[in-house]
């Protein structure tokens, strides 16, 4: 590390310090942080919003956050896609974990199915009550 003899060198010194945190760590914190944020936002929507559609949107946002989290844990430093092409059969060590990707595929489809059923229930509720506001629909004790 060079000594901080002039102003310019000092600035360089500070910048070097800042990037001494691994890019991998940055990516990790970024991805995980975003997914946690998404989960919280979605949860907030489900718990506080008064409109049925917004609640369902909240569920979708939560799903999005979780899927992002799931893919995120599969990351390997400088990893590449787990697809083999002629000549790259030996690249196993540098491949990203394929399992979370497969899990996410399933999870997305399942989330989609549940959302579809939820929307159909909303359509039926709307048919009966002509409103989407949850307060007016709450017949049964919560």
């Amino acid at each position: 590390m060079q000594e901080c003899t002039a102003v310019r060198s000092c600035n360089l010194g500070i910048k070097t310090l800042y990037f001494s945190m691994d890019t991998t760590e940055l990516i990790r914190i970024g991805v995980y942080g975003t997914s946690i944020l998404l989960i919280l936002i979605g949860l907030y929507a489900v718990l506080t919003k008064r409109s049925l559609i917004k609640i369902i949107i909240g569920l979708s946002i939560i799903d999005g956050g979780i899927h992002l989290l799931l893919i995120g844990i599969g990351y390997i430093k400088n990893g590449t896609a787990p697809i083999f092409s002629p000549g790259s059969e030996n690249a196993v060590a540098r491949m990203v974990d394929p399992v979370p990707q497969a899990l996410v595929l399933t999870a997305i489809v399942i989330g989609f199915g549940v959302t579809a059923v939820a929307l159909s229930l909303v359509i039926r509720l709307y048919r009966h009550h002509n409103t989407l506001k949850i307060d007016e629909i709450k017949n049964l004790k919560w």
Binding site: L40, T48, P82, I83, F84, M95, P98, V99, A102, S120
Partner: protein, 231 residues
């Protein structure tokens, strides 16, 4: 008041999540010896498939995929059951606003391209990223476009149902065939061929193609059911 409680709870919850996931000890690639290594190794050697994710979805964890296909089937059936109408009017639609001229002019052009893309994606699922679910969804999007653009575009619900059922039955039958050919359920019993050929990977592309058809038929049927729901 209630919002304050919720925000407080969320903050606590978020804190726990953050402490768990953002902890430096929760490192990446911690499980160097996890199952994925075997998957990555065996995909080419034993299954002849280039796309590891496809191999996992259809073969290693094919049982999950079967369950997933069932979930889709259930969702489509549930939609039909929940939005039940006593009489079925063909041509009764809730889309009352006609599509703009751009959409109606372009839809006819784009539709074949979308179908082709979708088919490409799910036929090549074992070679390139993609597969049955992705391709099927693309195809369903094409149908959605047509349904929105043209008021009199209609598909026979029966045909969709038949495709859906046949594809589902095909999936289970291939699984049972693996069973009967001296192996276990869903085991690959066909030759694996040369890597990166279109015909390679044994049962995997076949099953994925079936899944592609099923998903396309199911999603289209789903959209159709909702569109025909009279308010």
């Amino acid at each position: 008041m209630k919002k304050a409680i919720v925000i407080f709870l969320l903050a606590v919850f978020g804190f726990f999540l953050a402490v768990t996931f953002l902890d430096p000890e929760f490192e990446i690639d911690r499980n160097r010896n996890g199952v994925k290594n075997v998957y990555l190794e065996k995909t080419v050697s034993e299954l002849g498939t280039a796309n590891t994710v496809t191999a996992i979805v259809v073969n290693f964890r094919g049982f999950d995929t079967l369950g997933e296909v069932t979930v889709l089937f259930l969702a489509a059936t549930a939609l039909g059951s929940i939005l039940f109408k006593k009489r079925h009017h063909i041509g009764d639609r809730t889309v009352l606003i006609p599509a703009s001229s751009i959409v109606s002019a372009g839809a006819k052009l784009i539709f074949p391209a979308i179908i082709l893309l979708g088919a490409y994606v799910f036929i090549h699922g074992h070679l390139t990223p993609g597969g049955g679910f992705q391709g099927g969804t693309i195809i369903a999007t094409g149908f959605l476009l047509m349904l929105i653009a043209y008021r009199d575009f209609s598909i026979s619900h029966n045909i969709l149902s038949v495709i859906e059922s046949f594809a589902g039955i095909g999936f289970v039958v291939f699984g049972l065939l693996g069973f009967m050919n001296g192996g276990t359920f869903l085991q690959n019993f066909m030759g694996t061929g040369v890597l990166n050929d279109l015909i390679s990977g044994g049962v995997i592309p076949i099953i994925y193609i079936l899944v592609g058809f099923k998903v396309a038929a199911e999603l289209t049927g789903l959209i159709y059911t909702i569109l025909h729901e009279k308010g």
